[in-house]
Symmetry: C2
Subunit: 208 residues, 2 copies
C-alpha cells in the first residue's frame, strides 16, 4: 500500500494533491499540522528524517520525500492523462518551465517570505533555515525574478491556452503553486497570465 503524508496549507504538498486530482488517483493520506510542529514528531522523523512534507511511503517501505519526485512516480505508474509530456520535445519544454518556475517563482517566493515577513525573522531553526538575518534587498530581488518570469509566461500564454501548449501540464501546476505561494509579493499579473490564472484556479483539481 502507498501512503502519503500531507500538509494542507503548505505549497509543495498542494503540488502533489493537484497532480493526483488531475490523474484521478486516490492515495491513503495522513495530514500533519505544521503549525503544531507535527512534522518534528519522533513518529514522523522515523518516516522522513528531513521533517519535510510531502512524503510518499512506497509499498516496500522506501520513502520519496520531494513533491516533484512524487509526481514523477505517479506519472510512471499512471501515465494517463500525461502531465509531464507526450514526447521528448514536450517533456523537455515542461521540464524547462518547471525549473524556471522553481527558481524565479517558487524559490523567489520562499526568499521573499524569509527576508521580509516578521514571522520568519523570529523562527530560526539551525541547519534548516539557518541563522542569518533578514535582508530586504533579497526580497526586492525576488520580486524582480518573479516579474521576469511572468513576462516570459505572458508571451507564451498570449499564444497558447496553457504554458506549454493546449494541454494542462505539470508546468501549469508549478506556476499556480508559485503564484499562490508568492501572493504576498504583490507582483502584478500581466493580462494573459491573469486570464490563465483565473482558468486554472477554477479547475476542480485546484481545490484539492
Amino acid at each position: 500500500m502507498l501512503h502519503l503524508y500531507d500538509a494542507p496549507r503548505a505549497p509543495s504538498p498542494r503540488r502533489v494533491r493537484i497532480f493526483l486530482a488531475e490523474k484521478g488517483i486516490t492515495v491513503p493520506t495522513t495530514a500533519l499540522d505544521l503549525g503544531k510542529g507535527e512534522q518534528f514528531s519522533a513518529e514522523y522523523r522515523a518516516i522522513n528524517p528531513g521533517c519535510t512534507l510531502p512524503a510518499l511511503v512506497l509499498p516496500d517501505g522506501r520513502v520519496i520525500a520531494n513533491s516533484h519526485a512524487i509526481c514523477r512516480y505517479f506519472e510512471g505508474t499512471h501515465p494517463e492523462p500525461p502531465l509531464m509530456g507526450r514526447d521528448p520535445v514536450e517533456q523537455a519544454q515542461i521540464e524547462q518551465w518547471t525549473h524556471q518556475i522553481e527558481e524565479q517563482g517558487y524559490q523567489a517566493a520562499a526568499t521573499f517570505l524569509r527576508h521580509t515577513r516578521p514571522a520568519f525573522a523570529e523562527r530560526s531553526i539551525p541547519g534548516v533555515r539557518g541563522g542569518f538575518p533578514q535582508i530586504a534587498a533579497l526580497g526586492d530581488h525576488a520580486k524582480r525574478l518573479l516579474t521576469r518570469l511572468l513576462a516570459s509566461a505572458d508571451t507564451q500564454l498570449s499564444a497558447h491556452r496553457f504554458l506549454t501548449g493546449e494541454t494542462f501540464t505539470m508546468a501549469d501546476i508549478a506556476l499556480l503553486i508559485a503564484l499562490d505561494f508568492g501572493k504576498r509579493m504583490e507582483v502584478e499579473r500581466p493580462a494573459h497570465v491573469q486570464r490563465w490564472y483565473v482558468e486554472v484556479s477554477a479547475r476542480p483539481s485546484a481545490q484539492a
Copy 2:
C-alpha cells in the same frame, strides 16, 4: 538538425556534455566564450534571449535553454542507457536526488560564489545578478547546506556504488557538477563520497 550551444568551463553546459558522452551521442556544437561575453552577442540573443548556456536548437527551430530539460529531451530520444531511471521508483529517486543536489549543492555553490568571491561583487548586471551586496552569512549558510547534502549522500554511498543504486545516473552527474562547481567552498568530503568522487571523475564522460 540539432545544434548545441556550449560553454566549455561553465557547470551547467558540462552537465549536458557528460550526459551526451554517457549516451554516446554526438551533436554539432558551437562553444561560446563567457569570459569574452559572447553569450550577450546579438546573434546569440536571437537564439536564446535569456543569454544563458547551454541551449539546444531543435530541428524545427524551437530552443530548449535549460540543462536538465536538454538531458530530458535526449533521455526520450535515446533511451539507452537509461540515465533517468528504468521504472517509476528509480525515476522518482533520481528526481528526488537531483532536486536535493540542485538546492543544497548547485544553488548553494552559486550562492557561495555570489556572496564571497570578489569577482562577483564587482559584476552586477541589473535584472540578471541583481544589485544587492555580498552577504558573508549567506556564504556560510551555503556551506552548511552542502555539508548536510554530503552527509546524506555518504549514507547512501556507504551501501551503494552510485547515488541511487548500482547504476550511474543523472543524480551522479548532478552531484559531480555541484561538487566541482562548489570546490571553493572547501567542504570536506566524507569517506564514501570521496571514494565515489574519485570513481566518477575517472569516467571518460567526466572529461567531456
